[in-house]
Amino acid sequence: MTCDAVTKAIPLYHYGELPPEVEDAVEEHVDVCGECRQELERQRALAAALDRRIVAPPPDLLAECRHELARAIYREETPAVRRTASDPWGLFREAFHSLWHPGIRFRQPAGAVALIALGFFAARFVGFWPGIGANLMGVSPDTVVSSIRSVQPDSSGRVQIALDETRRRVVSGRLEDQNIQRLLLVAAREQDNPGVRVESVNLLKDHSSSAETRSVLLDRLMHDPNPGVRLKALEGLKSFAGDPEVRSAIAQVLLKDQNSGVRIQAIDLLIKHEDRSTVGVLQTLIGREDNNYVRMRCKNALQQMNASVGTF
């Protein structure tokens, strides 16, 4: 090989992209040619210098990307899921699907960190901006102004604006941490994102048995529009199943919830404890329930309590 040919081949030689026979020829030439050997050394030095300018993603970026992807996919999916859930079993499937939806599952390994990372915390910001002009200097770049409370011009040509701002923050901590639990309690009521709600409820039910958690679980069971969240709340209330207030809520769910999956879980929970005060509910339910399993469980429970299956 000539020096010119070797010089041209050196970049590909360095990356191991030459056919074996050409590679051998380059090596043979470099062994005897000082100038080409230097050329090869320069190629290696260039590669080594380039290696030192790698830019790695910031540590939290992957978790944020995963979370945002899950949200985007959830947004794409939700209308289709709603359209298909027209019958009781469809609703049950919807509920079941909700539990395993990527909008929910996708973030589980990231745990509370990823969950809270996407939390938004509103903070009242009422203040004056000193200095040169009212140019929003007091508002950080990642701040979103959610509403303007008041606008007051003064005689000097300046204006004072009171506003509410929404700011993104990332917090992390152990699930047992009270501050984390407090945020999870807020997240469990997050209006726009059922994925955040279901995951928060899921985490709360496993890591907290406080009265506040119980109250949030009850609230979600009764009022959350997403059956996946209601199912998780119900699951979380298992340990409170002997509590009269919880039993009353479960009874209401049995009579009112449109989702048969939720009612199936509710009936199992309600009749776990024999309780004669539920006889009336069970009798009412058996007359209006269209799900065979729920009716059968009602009937068995009433029979076990020697109560009449029908109402008179």
Binding site: K8, P11, L12, Y15, E17, R42, Q43, A45, L46, A47, A49, L50, R52, R53, I54, V55, A56, P57, P58, P59, D60, L61, L62, E64, C65, R66, E68, L69, A72, I73, E76, W100, H101, P102, R105, F106
Partner: protein
Amino acid sequence: MLQDAAGAVSARSVSKVDEAAVIRAVQRGDQDAFEQLVRAYDQSVLRLAMNLLRSPEDARDVYQEAFLRVYRNIHSFRFDCSFHTWLYRIVTNICLDHLRKRKVRREESAVVETADGPVDRMDSFEQEGAQADPERRLWNRQLGTRIDVALRDLTPRERMVFELRHYQGLRLRAIGEMLGTSEEAAKNCLFRATQKMRVVLGDLV
């Protein structure tokens, strides 16, 4: 084992046989399978986008757009190439669009946006030599600047080929397949990229 782009074996990876099963499950609408598929590849996708575009925001956009396209189009994946190639075709197209827009829009800044605020790329280049003598630090800074100039002078395609070969460790044949060109064309591209950089950096390396 399924390899990520840098050739490292992902901790969550699955075998090739399993991968086909996972893809079929995704095509049937299995969300867990989609998650598994994303997690097998997403670190390498993010790494590629970040190193190439040098901006977490752009890298985030690439990640999101790439995997949404996968989600929307996985039904059209026919196993006539590896999933890795198919995915990287998507990713490289999106990245090339970003590079082309950037080329038109403005000269690339030496400042990289990070979670902790803007950081001068040269500073990270210097880190290793932070304890070194001032002369060495100055040299490092000059080299860093020149490397960035050199990379900026590459065409988007040359930059992409160089990124995939040098930083992501992919073979030129695979790169050609991803970029819809021949191995020979990818070779020429890599050669041109290297030559251009050596011209700019010649006296420093």
